[in-house]
């Protein structure tokens, strides 16, 4: 069954795979953001109602999308953006010092 929830879970799993296997620092940051996006997709899909409208209370609306996940995930998106920016700033500093983005080579150097 293809819907938002199952695609969200697949995206999270891709992110986890990336974070566990990739040795490039930029790819690790990307994997982190992919994980975050997957969870956001999943969370929004939970509140989705097929054919629903925006949850503004007016007379005559029957089907409405749950507004809470959308409001909550807006916060989460902003947090994800901030974290990614900070992580990339750290990557720049590390690259300046070591001249490589390979995590194994950076870890060797004590």
């Amino acid at each position: 069954m293809i819907n938002g929830v199952s695609i969200g879970i697949i995206v999270v799993l891709i992110g986890i795979y990336g974070i566990l296997t990739k040795r490039n620092l930029i790819k690790m940051v990307m994997a982190l953001y992919i994980m975050n996006s997957g969870v956001i997709l999943l969370f929004i899909s939970i509140g989705y109602v097929a054919g629903g409208e925006a949850a503004i209370f007016e007379s005559g609306k029957k089907l409405m999308v749950d507004p809470l996940p959308q409001a909550v995930m807006l916060t989460s998106l902003v947090i994800g953006l901030g974290i990614t920016a900070l992580a990339l700033a750290l990557v720049i500093k590390i690259y300046d010092e070591y001249g490589t983005l390979n995590a194994s080579r950076i870890l060797e150097d004590k």
Binding site: F43, I79, L90
Partner: protein, 488 residues
Amino acid sequence: MTFHAPILVIVVPLLSAFLTHLTKYTRLKRGAEIVALTSMIVSLFFLLSMSGPVFSGEVLNYDLGGWPPPAGISLTVDGLSFFFSLLAVGVGLLIIVYSLGIYVYARRYYSLLLIALSGILGIVLTRDIFNMYVFFEILAVASYILVTYKHKTRAIKASFKYLIMSESAWVLFLLAVAVLYGLTGSLNMDDIAAQTPIIYQTNPQVIYLVFALMMIAFGIKCGMFPLHTWIPEAHSQAPTPVSGLLSGLILKVGLYAMLRVFFLFFGAPLFLRGAGSIIVYLGLITLIVGACLALAQEELKKLLAFSSINQIGFILIAIGLGTRLGFEGGLFHIFNHALIKTGLFFCAGIIISQTGFWKIGQMKGVWRKMPGLTAAFCVLSLAVIGIPPFNGFFSKMFIVEAVLLEQNYFLLFFVFFGIIMTAAYFFRVIQTFFAQEDFKQKPDFVPQPVGPFEHLSTYVFAAFCLLVGLFPGMVLSLIHPAVKVLLP
């Protein structure tokens, strides 16, 4: 004013964090420091104004903006959150006092420290699970930047490792929150807690999934065994007051979340089915691994970091047992470990800044140069081992007694093993400090002057260890309302 106290406890340090930057435009000489200290004292005042109702067993609820719980965010002050917030404000105040001497005119530093402390207070007081996630992220971002504050390369590397591990923890936590929201349609912890027993009966697998995801998230935060790898790097590379913050408070916040969320959501049914023993045995491995690795460390700060992992093992064992005595011992040890380990990191920071050495073997004869500080180090390390007149004795006694009542002698053996190993690695350090050789500094090393503030905060921690050891009833009267929340 008392009515708004729960939110003021969080908001005062948070707003002061931004106020510290504005002191640039005033004529105050050390404006940032004054703002930081004042805000923590005001926060402590608001917290203490709620102590009366909390001690009488009342639960204070506060709805943000007047919106009732299912839609709005509510803050709750009960025994457990009062205990942890008092710990956070008290230790935070002493961390700021220690920083006064080293970070002069550092507006950015005090601002980040206040953001981190308000994040901790928010996590402890909130009753909305998504709000808890947001405060966790606030705390996390502030602490990543604080670790790199001195722009040392190794610190940046440590911070990146901390960031990757901690952020994957929070993504998993958010996934668990999403699953819970999908099941219950609410983000309020009390609403979710009311519905979990029903869900557990119809669909236990989904509860196991949520438990596993949250266990990984909180395990990374509190340094549980397979997920502890960020701790030694981040703790040893961070500036000294930040090491104190990481070890004293940030690890404890993970334990708070574990206590609050697990016992509120899953409660008795899951714990009877073996979830408690998962925590106990992971705690046991954490204890053994932390003790063995601490014994093998060359650097003083790394030894202290592994010692933190070791002590977290004791706390996890006590919490996982799920008995009244276990909770008392676990919470008491959380309190004691926050005081002791922050004090020990402060001692280590001063010794390193005076000698220029990082390795234990090079710190011979330190007591000739710094007798008072060596005495404080001895007091604090005897306290963490659990020698009677100090506070660590009582908490470890409670933990041993709780294990003994379970009649699990395998566990008891390893708890004693942990205590003996703690003694082994701390006596190794003390032995070096009292060595016969003359005190030496690193060649061409110019020690930074150590002011009265650093000494003051270190001695206050040592004095508290003795005081709590002599009068454990003081802390126990704080712990009893907290245990009442967990086991009604």
